[in-house]
Symmetry: C2
Subunit: 141 residues, 2 copies
Amino acid sequence: MKRDSGYNTRQKEKLISFLVNNKEKHTNVQEISAYLLAEGTPVGTATIYRQLDKLVENGVVRKYSFDGKTGACYQYIDDSRECREHFHLKCLKCGKLIHLNCDHLSGLREHILEHHGFMVDPSQTVFYGVCSDCSSAEDKD
Amino acid sequence: MKRDSGYNTRQKEKLISFLVNNKEKHTNVQEISAYLLAEGTPVGTATIYRQLDKLVENGVVRKYSFDGKTGACYQYIDDSRECREHFHLKCLKCGKLIHLNCDHLSGLREHILEHHGFMVDPSQTVFYGVCSDCSSAEDKD
DNA sequence: TTGCGTGCAAAGGTTTTGCATGGCA
DNA sequence: TGCCATGCAAAACCTTTGCACGCAA
């Protein structure tokens, strides 16, 4: 994985800075664009997409798309934590992101690799569904 | 789940017929449209989307959105099989989409539900990684 | 007859691309 | 200086919506 590539520009720095400061949540192009505009350092949409593409390719950022309508979500990958090793759950109702540290799940990768010849990348993989809070709230309907 | 609803029209019959005949794979609006056109019974795009929406709502068809670019995929839900429960693997290198029918993975949902109180929705969840073909190709680099 | 279904075209939203200019190294 | 990055606008895509007409029940 390349740690970095290309020139360092003001736009790129601002973009990465925003992603790092929001590493605990998913964000999207619209949000990034609005933030940078409010910051007084507007960045063109095309540039955001282009930079994001590179960051994803370099393994610096994760890209998720679970709904063509909403647009893709992005998240900075934090090396210092062990987020790369475990899976994540994302609640489709409240948007909460849950880190899943579990032995059962750790065995999952090995199983898929051995039995299906597929090397799963946990840093790119998110389980979508409904969390317990939203699930119990749903029962009341 | 409602088994059916609304009027029976030629368009609706053709659409469902196509979905049933292709229940083993994912399809998309473009493919459906092209097929119906070739069949000599063209159906407007809007109609396809509208019917598909109803079918999804009635639980007759499953909708997947892997990738904002490619557009959504649809698949008829065959009650007789256990296809309802399986996950998908998507190769980040070649883009191949692999259907994962496996008992081990079926137990995964239950595990996460019981131990983590989270109801995973397989129709929204995709494992990203590298498939065996691309993996062996990588070794040669 | 009633009201849902259909087709067409236009609109809506996200993402990509072409091209000239700007800026890093 | 050479080449990549940026911005703007236009284009490309997928999907939804408005409206008039058609058709099932």
